[in-house]
Amino acid sequence: MTDGLDLYRGMRLIRRFEDAVQALFQKGEVHGTTHLYSGQEASAVGVCSSLAAGDRVAATYRGHGHALALGVSPQGFMDELLGRATGVCGGRAGSMNVIDLEHGLMGCYGIVGGTMAAATGAALAFSLRRQPNVAVAFFGDGTSNQAYFAECLNFAAIRSLPVVFCCENNLYMEYTPTETVTAGAIADRPRALGIATEIVDGNDVFAVRQAAASALELARSGSGPVFLEILTYRIVGHSRSDPGAYRKPGELDEWKKRDPLLLARRALVDEHGFDEAEVDRIDAEVERQMETIVENALAAPWPDPSLPVEQFAGGAR
């Protein structure tokens, strides 16, 4: 995936996928809770479009966007969210814990900081096996105060592990403004460890892609971890039950003016020489794609609870 339209399509798919999830939620077809990625699409698409075969990604509970950007089947993912047997994890994982190794998705991690741990471990494997791959951890701004953050940054740094830490700073940790519980600037933390650190406009997919490409190259070259702080905003609730009262007045509207899809569309037309019509066509294609996906998902079979489940890999003992 390399051209601008592809990046746009990737983002559009995520946005419409999340819209569909939200609608299905309201209809009672998706159960439990979901954490939508809407507004942050440029981060996942910008980073994941720069990966090489064999690279691994650790995504969060807010992982739909990362998964789709990695090429995980949107059908299989939607089926998973609906708990169907045809889901990428057979319905076992649900929204927060999807794993799809074939597409480089090590997992979506429900524990804040878990992605950093997982990616650090993957990078350790790459490093010791002399495998020319990079591991990517996505996580939020609030994660910068969690134990795994500091321990993993240091561990990756001292072993010069090929890992790119992608901090998606959307200003909030659930409903609490991160700045109110965070001392200093997030980017100063990796810097204090001597880790190469860059801050990037997370709503500009081209900027993210460029920053990610450099970061991945640097990490792949063996010079150690790279930290990207990706400034973005979540234009939907944290999860299903979000009270929403925490946003500063006008903030949401301001950020909606910088919606990554809007920005990308504008750039494609104004700078990359595409027609509006071409972009519209993508929208229409994604629309149809999502319709089919939702339809199929709703018709997909449920897993059979009467099937026996082994306790351990490799047999009962």
Binding site: G94, S95, Y246
Partner: protein, 322 residues
């Protein structure tokens, strides 16, 4: 008698203790300004000011803050949002809080409470549905409280906050919306079980959401002429073993129902205690718990995974040969 919602019962206990005792403080992630992800603490910060506050996502620092302040004059109540995150505070609980009183040779106490939302059946998947009680059941010095009924939730939380030991207070997500008799609104002693249904053929001992399942099963079984006594354990550490033994000495049979993987859960502990003490009076003893694998997300898988009233009734019938 007036009714109270489980969620509200928790709120009232916190609110009253904060008002009564200036040493009580409550903190956790998103509990103050937003009122908690399960809307339990809405309005608490407005009422009690800086003694109710939001924290960073720093579970290790939080348990440290709770422990360190508890041994220095506060009575902190810490919320760990989901029970699944409790492993992050285990070091603080095991190696600091629960040891302080004993190791100090009684120089001081460590009165802290950890509130946490636990349990499954709400489609939250493998990492937001677990039952942490068994992870903590071998920690001397720690108490574990696990209410089933709204009135109890309040009375037990009052006692937990007043207790001079670290207490893990488990709130089953499924129960937050449940209403029940408010009771007296007074403190209920920890470590004392309640017979919530009297019966003569079989004792079912359980806790939290499973109490409701056991009561429903008992209703169903009454139709088959099986008369179940149901014991709500209420406290999982220390167990009220005498209450269970007393009951079993009358009924001759004990079924322990637990919402946690079968192997290594607290049901085993209770079965062992009773077997050791009352093997002579026992015609039968067994447990029902979940399978030994992580909690599946998919609704039909999750529904089959947990022990519900039907499963309890079926098991009782089969074990009693009916």
């Amino acid at each position: 008698m007036s009714e109270i919602e489980f969620r509200r019962a928790i709120f009232e206990a916190l609110d009253e203790e904060l008002a009564r005792d200036p040493a009580v403080v409550h903190f956790g992630e998103d509990i103050a300004a937003a009122g908690g992800v399960f809307a339990v603490t809405k309005g608490l910060a407005e009422r009690h000011g800086e003694r109710v506050f939001d924290t960073p996502i720093s579970e290790l620092a939080l348990i440290g803050a709770a422990y360190g302040s508890a041994i220095n004059g506060l009575r902190p109540v810490l919320e760990i949002m989901f029970g699944d995150f409790l492993p992050l505070v285990m070091d603080g609980v095991i190696n600091q809080a629960a040891k302080f009183w004993y190791v100090s040779n009684g120089q001081g106490t460590c009165p802290l409470v950890i509130r946490s939302a636990v349990g499954g059946g709400v489609r939250f998947g493998a990492i937001h549905s677990q039952m942490p009680a068994p992870w903590f059941q071998n920690v001397p010095g720690l108490k574990i409280v696990a209410p089933a009924l709204p009135g109890d939730a309040k009375g037990l939380l009052l006692s937990a906050i007043r207790d001079d030991n670290p207490v893990l207070f488990l709130e089953h997500k499924h129960l937050y919306g449940v209403k029940g008799p408010a009771g007296t609104g007074e403190a209920i002693p920890l470590g004392v079980a309640a017979v919530v249904r009297a019966g003569s053929d079989l004792t079912i001992a359980t806790a939290m959401k499973s109490v409701h399942e056991a009561l429903a099963a008992a209703d169903e079984l009454a139709g088959d002429g099986i008369d179940c006594e149901v014991i709500d354990l209420r406290t999982l550490r220390p167990f009220d073993v005498p209450a269970v033994v007393q009951s079993v000495e009358r009924t001759g049979r004990l079924l322990v129902v637990e919402e946690a993987p079968r192997t290594g859960g607290w049901a085993g502990e209770l079965v062992a205690e009773v077997a050791e003490r009352a093997i002579g009076s026992l015609d039968d003893i067994w447990r029902l718990a979940t399978p030994d694998h992580p909690i599946p997300f998919s609704p039909p898988l999750e529904d089959a995974f947990f022990v519900n009233a039907q499963a309890i009734a079926a098991s009782v019938r089969s074990r009693l040969g009916r």
